[in-house]
């Protein structure tokens, strides 16, 4: 049953599995898009994919390079304006799950995609917010998909672009954020989930072959580890085959 696979593949497959039981997914670009399309190609064929370009129910045969590729509109149930996608579909909280990437994540799963360094004189100017702040605020839950490193998992964000669990218990309620916030952070090393009490991210799963020390070393704060730490199930052959077919399709088109 075991097949060789890359850590990125494990991450994407774990992210796809996180969609199980969800009906509608607001998809960001990059790894989240690949994971969402993998879920649709494997265990959740009926999942409704919604892209911030305004396509609802897109069924692309391969994940798009950009969120505005023509195939997203051509295969959609309906295409709506940017105003409508944010106001009528995202904001009211009618979408089950949002998939987000990040440049920096802190222990409360808050996200920075704006700048590294000082805002007015940045060391690295990142792309900025895009749809993320409102995806993070309004989806019923969010999942963050990001590679695990100290550069990403930082003690303190240089800029809060999108709110996860704010400064801890009760923060989302105080801020008027109506979705549940991040329910997991999926990396190439394992899965972090907020502690139900403190809302601080806690390592709950390691991918096969990864140990706790490696995850701790890749995290910029003292990483808490769940007392019930588990190991992610290996990718199945079906998952890997589907993922590689999808990834090849995207590359072929570029």
């Amino acid at each position: 049953m075991t097949t060789a696979y890359a850590t990125d593949e494990m991450m994407t497959i774990a992210a796809a599995r996180a969609l199980e039981g969800r009906r509608t997914c607001f998809v960001g670009i990059g790894l989240p898009s690949l994971a969402a399309n993998l879920a649709r190609a494997t265990s959740i064929p009926d999942i409704v994919l919604i892209y911030e370009s305004g396509t609802i129910g897109s069924k692309p045969p391969h994940p798009p390079l950009s969120i505005g590729d023509g195939v997203l509109a051509e295969t959609a149930d309906t295409v709506v304006s940017s105003a409508e996608i944010f106001n009528y579909w995202l904001q009211p909280g009618r979408i089950d799950i949002g998939f987000l990437g990040a440049a920096q994540v802190d222990r409360f799963a808050n996200i920075n995609t704006t700048v590294i360094g000082d805002y007015r004189r940045p060391k690295v100017r990142l792309p900025g917010a895009g749809g993320a702040p409102e995806i993070a605020a309004s989806c019923r839950e969010t999942v963050i998909v990001v590679r695990h490193s100290k550069r990403v998992f930082v003690d303190r964000l240089d800029f809060v672009t999108s709110v996860g669990h704010g400064d801890g218990p009760g923060a989302r309620e105080r801020l008027g954020l109506r979705g549940a916030g991040p329910t997991s952070v999926i990396t190439d090393l394992g899965i972090l989930e907020p502690d139900p009490e403190s809302r601080e991210l806690m390592l709950t799963r390691l991918h096969p072959g990864v140990d706790v020390d490696r995850a701790r070393e890749a995290t910029g704060w003292p990483l808490k580890v769940s007392g019930r730490l588990a190991t992610t199930a290996e990718p199945t052959r079906a998952e890997l085959t589907a993922l590689r077919r999808l990834a090849a399709g995207t590359e072929e088109r570029t």
Partner: protein, 269 residues
């Protein structure tokens, strides 16, 4: 009232130094040809407005046309950074670039307010983020019925909006379809509107998913086939994904960028 013009005429008449200029198109129908004409005519000190600045604004910024950028996501979609945008923000090259930064939801609602003749729009947004601290056009607002705290964003009413569309008729009615983004709102919010189209036709046959801008809210219509490239016009052209990927290397280097602009923009008609 729509006038048919060449792109050079429309940019000459419609866009002046110091103007606020919105070029919309969410990954689709991006008016690249018009941006190139702006570079050729040497406009300066523009306030560039766009949800996704993208390669089109990387070029305008790198060419020194802009002094300010109003935006919500400044990357090369699916590829990475906008290096000319970064060089301007990080190193003031070729000139300093002020930025006014929002989320997509905030930007699009600013266009909605502008198109609606309102000074602001309301949304559930920005709460808990650092964006409100760095952006003046974001303010808290209390619901007069429930007391809930919400967020207001000020309206955008660009001096000029430029969009690319599939087609127009001879009266200047403009039809577009596919991913429609914020084009209608950006056009209706603007004082002046320039539309480049793939073709001008006698009749506009109804098309599923299409929207129409009536001739009486359009100022200039310019027939510019392929005017969205390397972006695309659904039903007419394909997205040049390889160009977006090639842009990463071209734009990383100031000299390579300048050479590309000389060869592909300034050297063109």
């Amino acid at each position: 009232m729509a006038v048919t013009a060449t792109l050079a005429e429309a940019v000459e008449a419609g866009i002046g130094d110091g103007d606020s200029l919105a070029m919309e198109g969410f990954t689709h129908l991006i008016p690249h040809a018009a941006a190139h004409e702006v570079i050729r005519q040497g406009r300066r000190d523009l306030t560039l407005i766009r949800m996704t600045p993208d390669v089109i604004y990387d070029q305008l910024i790198g060419a020194g046309c802009a002094s300010k950028l109003v935006f919500s996501w400044g990357g090369n979609p699916g590829v990475g950074s906008l290096h000319r945008l970064r060089d301007a923000v990080e190193h003031d090259w070729p000139t300093p670039l002020a930025i006014e930064e929002h989320s997509h939801a905030g930007m699009v609602n600013r266009y909605v307010a502008g198109a609606s003749g309102l000074p602001f729009a309301v949304l559930r947004g920005y709460s808990g983020t650092d964006l409100a601290e760095v952006t003046d056009s974001i303010a808290p607002l209390t619901c007069p019925f429930t007391g809930e705290r919400l967020t207001a964003v000020s309206a955008l009413n660009p001096d000029v909006t430029v969009i690319h569309a599939q087609r127009a008729d001879r009266a200047g009615n403009v039809q577009l379809w596919g991913i429609i983004g914020a084009q209608k709102e950006a056009a209706l919010a603007a004082k002046r509107t320039i539309v480049t189209v793939e073709e001008v036709v006698d009749e506009l046959p109804p098309h599923p998913g299409s929207i129409l801008l009536p001739h009486w809210v359009v100022d200039w219509v310019c027939e510019v086939p392929g005017g969205a490239a390397p972006s695309y016009a659904a039903g007419y052209t394909e997205r040049e994904n390889d160009f977006y990927q090639a842009w990463d290397a071209i734009s990383r280097d100031r000299v390579a960028f300048a050479e590309w602009i000389d060869a592909n923009v300034k050297g063109q008609p």
